[in-house]
């Protein structure tokens, strides 16, 4: 398979050497059409960075390449493992160049092509292209000198040729983040048992307790974990805390307020999808909950009420959905049907041969 791909790549790159001849047509990257599951809405199209087969492949190489970090030991995949639905299993990682513990839990990367209302837990980043500069440059993450990165990639003919094919220009940091964004938009998970159930496909069987969980989820959780994507891409205070006066670390504890400076946004964080949720523990923006049982316990009885707490999580002035143990177990059983093994074992999303 790898050999076949390499031959394919070489055949694509060959015309580049003869491009100066006026009779040759310049090789062009081929459009890449996202494979959108039948039960999904249409994905937003990023007009500024149209997907191409070669752009996605380049982004995949870069995503797994530790050369992207300052010490050449950390890649994007160091904190976004494919087998954990592109999360890292840690509450707060210290895997960055500095070794300092981060303030935020590494989010899972699932269905990013639909994430059209801000990235990061507080939504300060507007698109995957701009977002990538954050982890690339941050001293506690990849701490890469962007000029050095350009030089390092330029030293490798395979990258030089691929960048030129995809972007028609020499390597620069903008193209690195564009390629990464292209690959991330192909991280589509829509082939879980639940999806097969919804699409009435073979293998789409759900047990009674899972069906009961689905019904309970629809009543209690789906106002935020909405639709086929299981997220409304919006920001809510889910009652983890009630005091947001700590403005240390540039307001990192204040939720979306640090982006909007609107007091109504204190303690609000982006709704993550619950797809593959059993693969992406621990939970919440700071990874404070180790297990899914703790999460259900929180939503049932642990919600702290403050001025910005989501109204749907407060019943008669008391925080929490007041779910019984049996109801919590049923919801967890349902959440298990959202695990998509074809997503985490998809070779096209895994580590490629690096230049």
């Amino acid at each position: 398979m790898v050999i076949i791909r390499n031959i394919y790549m070489i055949s694509l790159l060959l015309p580049a050497f003869t491009a100066c001849s006026r009779t040759e047509v310049n090789p062009e990257p081929q459009p890449y059409a996202l494979v959108v599951p039948g039960n999904f809405p249409a994905a937003a199209v990023m007009m500024d960075n149209p997907l191409t087969k070669q752009g996605v492949e380049l982004g995949r190489m870069l995503f797994y390449d530790p050369r992207l970090s300052g010490n050449n030991r950390i890649s994007c995949a160091s904190c976004h493992h494919p087998e954990k639905a592109f999360s890292d299993g840690l509450a707060l990682s210290a895997a960055g160049v500095s070794g300092n513990r981060l303030h935020r839990h590494a989010p899972a990367l699932i269905n990013m092509a639909w994430a059209n209302n801000g990235l990061f837990w507080d939504g300060g980043s507007t698109n995957l292209e701009s977002q990538a500069f954050g982890p690339l440059a941050h001293p506690d993450e990849m701490f890469q000198n962007l000029q050095e990165l350009t030089d390092e990639l330029n030293a490798l003919p395979a990258y030089r040729d691929l960048f030129r094919l995809v972007f028609r220009e020499e390597i620069n940091p903008s193209f690195v983040v564009r390629a990464l964004a292209q690959f991330q938009r192909t991280l589509i998970s829509g082939n879980s048992r639940y999806d097969k159930f919804i699409r009435r496909e073979p293998g789409g069987n759900m047990s009674n307790i899972e069906l009961r969980g689905l019904e309970l989820f629809g009543r209690n959780c789906s106002s935020c974990h909405t639709g086929a994507l299981f997220t409304d891409n919006d920001y809510h205070n889910n009652g983890l805390d009630a005091d947001f006066s700590n403005d240390a670390a540039e307001g990192i504890y204040q939720g979306r307020f640090r982006v909007t400076y609107n007091p109504d946004d204190l303690g609000k964080f982006r709704t993550p999808t619950v797809r593959n949720i059993l693969l992406t523990a621990p939970y919440m923006h700071d990874g404070r909950m180790a297990t899914i049982e703790e999460v259900l316990q929180h939503y049932s009885q642990g919600v702290k009420v403050s001025a910005t707490t989501a109204a749907g999580l407060v019943r008669n002035g008391t925080g929490g959905l007041q779910l019984s143990q049996e109801e919590q177990q049923a919801i967890i059983a349902f959440l298990g049907t959202l695990t998509d093994s074809t997503f985490i074992h998809n070779n096209a999303l895994g580590k490629p041969v690096l230049p």
Binding site: R22, G124, T126, N127, G134, L146, R168
Partner: protein
């Protein structure tokens, strides 16, 4: 032989191909103008030398009140002593309006006006050299009599919301964005840094603006129309008064102004638009 790419997929957002197309268009326009003026020249007996698209320089001369701005020099503003280490801001989307009301937009016009000593960017990983740049040189402006200039301080939302789009001097490598601002997806629109001494206490000051809401556009009328063409040397000179940039902002109470101080930041952005930048001369010789 130049061949234009057929791939419209990339034509809309890449910087190079539109530039190429634009250049081709300019060549075409130029040829048309040449042909037209040649024909016109034939029909007249004593025609003056034909005039083509010309150049203009636009200068932003930094001041502190009546004095010349200078790094490391002590200035007194409202009884406090200031010493500056940096003044930088984006001048973008420059256009000229002629007497007929026709607008010429300078393509890819994102210029960094600055006076700073060496800057360590990315927490010291990269060094940006000391630089003083107050003048922008523009060329290929269609010949004409222009009555006003329009420009903005900051970066428009199209480029500011996607930092992988680049045009003109926009870059991640010149220190006009950093980790804090990347959280917000914004270039630093303007930056004034230094120290302030009041009542014997010295504080470092950082006055930054950014975010789409603080993008400001100025249109400045010339006192008399200014000719731009190959036959002329055209210079537009502004002064930029640092005293006015920080007008109405209490740096004693808030020595650091940035995204976390939205009201003060908006005041500074407004100051750039209203009062700090003043036209001194616009001449054509």
């Amino acid at each position: 032989m130049l061949t234009l790419p057929k791939n419209t997929c990339f034509g809309g957002q890449d910087t190079f191909y539109p530039l190429l197309k634009r250049t081709m268009k300019h060549i075409f326009t130029f040829a048309l103008i040449t042909a037209t003026s040649f024909l016109a020249a034939c029909s007249k007996d004593n025609d003056p030398i034909a005039e083509y698209a010309g150049q203009a320089s636009v200068t932003f001369d930094a001041k502190v009140g009546g004095e010349d701005f200078s790094l490391g020099k002590a200035f007194t503003i409202e009884g406090k002593t200031y010493t500056f280490t940096q003044l930088r801001y984006w001048v973008s989307n420059i256009s000229f309006t002629n007497e007929k009301g026709e607008i010429y937009k300078v393509p890819a016009s994102y210029y960094l006006i600055e006076e700073n000593s060496k800057i360590n960017t990315q927490d010291g990983a990269y060094e940006y050299p000391a630089r003083k740049r107050e003048t922008i040189s523009l060329s290929n402006i269609p010949a004409g009599n222009y009555k006003s200039i329009t420009f903005s301080i900051g970066v428009d939302s199209v480029y500011n919301k996607n930092m992988s789009l680049q045009a003109g001097e926009l870059s991640q490598l010149n220190g006009m964005t950093n980790i804090s601002w990347m959280w917000h997806t914004s270039y630093i629109f303007s930056s004034l840094k230094g120290s302030m001494t009041a009542d014997g206490a010295t504080k470092n000051i950082i006055v930054e603006t950014g975010l789409n809401t603080n993008y400001r556009t100025l249109t400045v009328d010339f006192t008399a129309p200014v000719r731009i063409s190959t036959a002329k040397t055209t210079a537009v000179n502004f002064t930029v008064d640092v005293e006015k940039i920080i007008d109405g902002v209490d740096l004693t109470a808030t020595p650091v102004i940035g995204a976390g101080q939205p009201a003060a930041m908006t005041r500074v952005a407004d100051n750039y638009k209203q009062g700090a930048i003043v036209l001194q001369t616009a001449s054509s010789k």
